[in-house]
Subunit: 177 residues, 2 copies
């Protein structure tokens, strides 16, 4: 994000070697180059503050734009799912069983949309319980199962590591006493 | 969005009343207050430049965060639709016709999700053709219809004024010769 005008880099602070004027002495007129330096520094400072202000304003607008863009992109990914659902339903009178097969394909398409957005579905059983990906809704006592593993998925989860849209709701095998 | 440290407001440029030193004169030591002013201005400038740099970095992170947040929020709005679709399909063996009725409700829910995200569905016929909301896929010659109105909606549009996710694909009545 470049500003319209790149700020000048401040020079390294000069070592002042001049002997200071007496503190009691009245302000004598400074040399011309000193005055010019003050003017230049004040201009540079003003410009940097103006850049800061512009950057803040531009950023607020940019946030709004990015938010709307991402919402549209994400919502648009679902339109083909809805279109296909409606196309299937339009033939509902013909052969309901065949239509339901078609709707299963629409369901798979919806799962693919979520994967494409960065939220793959997960519904594995037998895996160790992981509090970052699973939410326990019950415990089952199955002596044959490894303790503290997912015995049953009640509702699938969506998301990748560190980016869970929703945890899977699971029944967990009882921890060994 | 406040920076950690509010920059000091630059003072109004002072009117210089001192007579300038001779241009040829070697740099004489400036008065102490002039030197202090230069130091202070240079510090202020440096601080403003550092603020600019920090602001740019923070903004880049914030944009990424907002993008991910909006994606998650939008995708999450669809999860109940998918859940209900799967619930309906789970009973497909029982009574296909009844299941299809249930799936029509899921379709309505999907349309509601889009409305909630700011993209209401539109599929009106008889309205004047509007290039910002309609895309013409064909022309019909219907002497009874008002010319240049939507005669048939092939596929519904989604979006509000100035925020179209997708235009409606329409057949338009022929313009009168």
């Amino acid at each position: 994000m470049a500003t319209g005008q790149e700020p000048v880099t401040p020079p390294e602070q000069e070592q002042r070697t001049e002997s200071p004027a007496s503190p009691a002495a009245p302000a004598a007129p400074g040399p011309e180059d000193r005055a010019a330096e003050v003017d230049e520094l004040r201009d540079n400072w003003r410009r940097a503050l103006a850049d800061l202000d512009n950057l803040r304003k531009r950023h607020a607008k940019e946030l709004e734009r990015v938010r709307a863009e991402e919402r549209a992109r994400t919502a648009a990914a679902w339109l083909p799912v809805l279109d296909n659902l409606e196309r299937a339903l339009a033939h509902a009178d013909a052969d309901p069983s065949a239509v339901l097969k078609g709707i299963e394909t629409v369901r798979d398409q919806a799962v693919e949309v979520l994967r494409g957005l960065g939220y793959p579905r997960h519904e594995e059983t037998g895996v160790p319980f992981d509090p970052t990906r699973h939410e326990v809704v019950g415990v089952v006592d199955d002596p044959g199962a490894e303790p503290n593993t997912v015995a049953q998925v009640v509702s699938p989860g969506y998301g990748a590591d560190g980016n869970q849209l929703r945890p899977a709701f699971v029944m967990v095998s009882k921890r060994q006493e």
